[in-house]
Amino acid sequence: MSDRRLPRLLQTPAVILLLIWMLIPLGMTLYFSFIRYVLNSLRRPEWTSPSLSNWRGFGNYEFVLNNKDFFFAIQNSLLIVCSILFATVILGVAIAVLINKAFAGRGIVRVLLISPFFVMPAVNAVLWINMILDPVLGLQGIAVAGINEFIDGMRAAPVVGGFFSLWPELEPISFRATQTSAWAVIIMVTWQWTPFAVLIFMTSLQSEDQQQKEAAILDGAGAWSQFRFLILPHLGRPIAIVVMIQAIFHLSLYAEIEIVSRGNGNKNLPYLIGEFANNNIGAASATGIFAVILANIVAIFLLRMIGKTLME
């Protein structure tokens, strides 16, 4: 027995540290979510310091559930995460397969492809919203104006003029608006994280068995069949990893949402927590607990879906 005790004893510090690391913040969040605790209140100064005498029960939770933004934030969190996952995996697989073949300048192309991943999230957001998506000064605005001008010019042209006069004038899309700001975030995060997916898929493709490929060629598999029956199953595991890691990261998106529209029409749970935390720590903590629950639900889903692939 004693020979088992020693390894356990040696493991304990690490385990205890991990427990402290997780349990203390979680415990404090739970505690704050059940009391009235605000940062600043002239009317009720006793609420500004955490104390059991300010017990509120499930009051904070009720307050959060009744907040008009809460369900919207959950829905928006899921929309953003799922859209980004969908787009990055498809783009990632497509690009990885495309650059897997040897061609001149492949090294440079690869470096360029990876580079968006090294841009800071806030810089990424500023860059996109101001320089690319802006309806007037961004590339989008310039492109739409250019197309409109071209169509305008063509209306006077003989023969094809009639065709172009049927075209409506194109309106640039304002990505800071309530309805579209989530899409701006999805676009810019997809741009930033596709390289991550490409990187992982690319390394996986390099480990592909060449003889399997040759066997498939001899078996009469065309390019599409090879992709469908060899490459895609081979990428199953890396896809699972990319989905898992990205889901964790994108549930906590913040900088992009702040910069694009300051949460206007586009809040996710972390952003809502941030808004509450401006003053109402109790409500922010209660939202935090909801966020933990949401993250766990997503995790269970992912593990069910992906665990199988990973275990095989």
Partner: protein, 334 residues
């Protein structure tokens, strides 16, 4: 049908010509073995026939039809790879069905052929497993099954047994030979193992540095090797080569004599030496003899158990009729 004809085929990788112009015909139904040391171009030659490599010049014809520019899948050949190359995420059944699925065969036909292949290869109980759950020998059988169901004009084997252990290798060797006897389909088999070549082939093609050294039946190669290389490569243990005075007696630059053609005698032997290592196998005894003054080591095979050990004096008599003579250019003197 499955007659394969190579006409002045060459292959270069960049500036390096790995196969100088080469002509070879493999008749329908023949079991041809390409054998040679590693790097001799035998696998490249097989890949040229399969279409996995493009020829630099020359033509490949199957049944008289030029297929040099035809894609690998349209040549009607099946290949079995050294690493088996099974599709890891598919069951055995799906692996075997894959080429038929690609060819768009009906489900009934697929089922029939899978059942027949599984039956003949003893795979029926494993059809729903994945390759990862099979042993090396079973995987190799699945690979062969996948090749059979296509009903090819010829089978190409690329060192299929080199990843198996010795006992399995002997078993699979027999299975493949029997399969050939049964199906009578052309087979081309690449190996570096001359024992496999000798036991399986109708026709052996000995290659060195991309050049065909000799083509012939196993016994032809054994009895009348064209040159020193073939003489040394075919036969196990290797033929003994003797140069100098002894060779001059036979008016040759080099003479060669196989270990089994030297007799161990009690006294009055032509050659005398001391035993370096004696390998007692029961059925045979191999002696590595030093100090004969002819070559550094002479290998001798005696039938049965001969009770000589390290350091003993030994007397030897070569059988004069079995001496192979080679000239200055290393070619056989008839």
């Amino acid at each position: 049908m499955g007659q394969i004809e190579l006409t002045s085929v060459t292959k270069s990788f960049g500036d390096v010509q790995v196969i100088p112009p080469l002509d070879l015909t493999i008749e329908d139904g023949e079991f041809a073995v390409f054998v040679g040391p590693s790097g001799c171009g035998k696998s490249t030659l097989l890949r040229l026939i399969a279409g996995l490599e493009d020829t630099t010049s020359g033509t490949v014809a199957i049944d008289g039809e030029d297929v040099t520019q035809v894609s690998p899948s349209k040549r009607g050949l099946s290949m079995v790879f050294q690493t088996y190359a099974l599709y890891p995420h598919m069951t055995v059944r799906k692996n075997i069905a894959f080429p038929m699925r690609m060819a768009g065969l009906s489900d009934d036909e697929q089922k029939k052929r899978i059942a027949a292949a599984a039956e003949s290869l003893n795979l029926t109980d494993y059809l729903d497993r994945k390759p990862g759950q099979l042993s090396g020998g079973q995987r190799q059988r699945v690979a062969i099954g996948r090749a059979i169901v296509r009903d090819p004009k010829a089978f190409l084997f690329d060192e299929p047994l080199s990843n198996l252990d010795a006992a399995l290798r002997v078993g699979m060797r027999l299975e493949i030979t029997e399969m050939h006897e049964r199906m009578k389909t052309t087979m081309i088999y690449v190996t570096h193992d001359q024992v496999e070549a000798m036991t399986m082939a109708d026709k052996i093609v000995v290659l060195q540095a991309g050049v065909i050294e000799q083509v012939g039946s196993p016994i032809e190669l054994y009895e009348a090797p064209k040159n020193l290389f073939v003489a040394g490569f075919i036969g196990s243990p290797k033929m003994n080569f003797i140069e100098g005075e002894e060779a001059a007696k036979h008016s040759a630059k080099t003479i060669g004599i196989r270990p089994e053609h030297i007799d161990v005698v009690e006294s009055g032997g032509q050659w005398k030496g001391t035993v370096g290592v004696a390998e007692h196998l029961g059925s045979d005894t191999f002696f590595h003899v030093h100090g004969t003054g002819l070559a550094e080591t002479l290998t001798v095979r005696a039938v049965g158990n001969v009770a000589l050990k390290h350091g003993d004096k030994i007397e030897l008599n070569p059988r004069a009729a079995e001496v192979h003579r080679f000239d200055q250019a290393e070619l056989r003197i008839a």
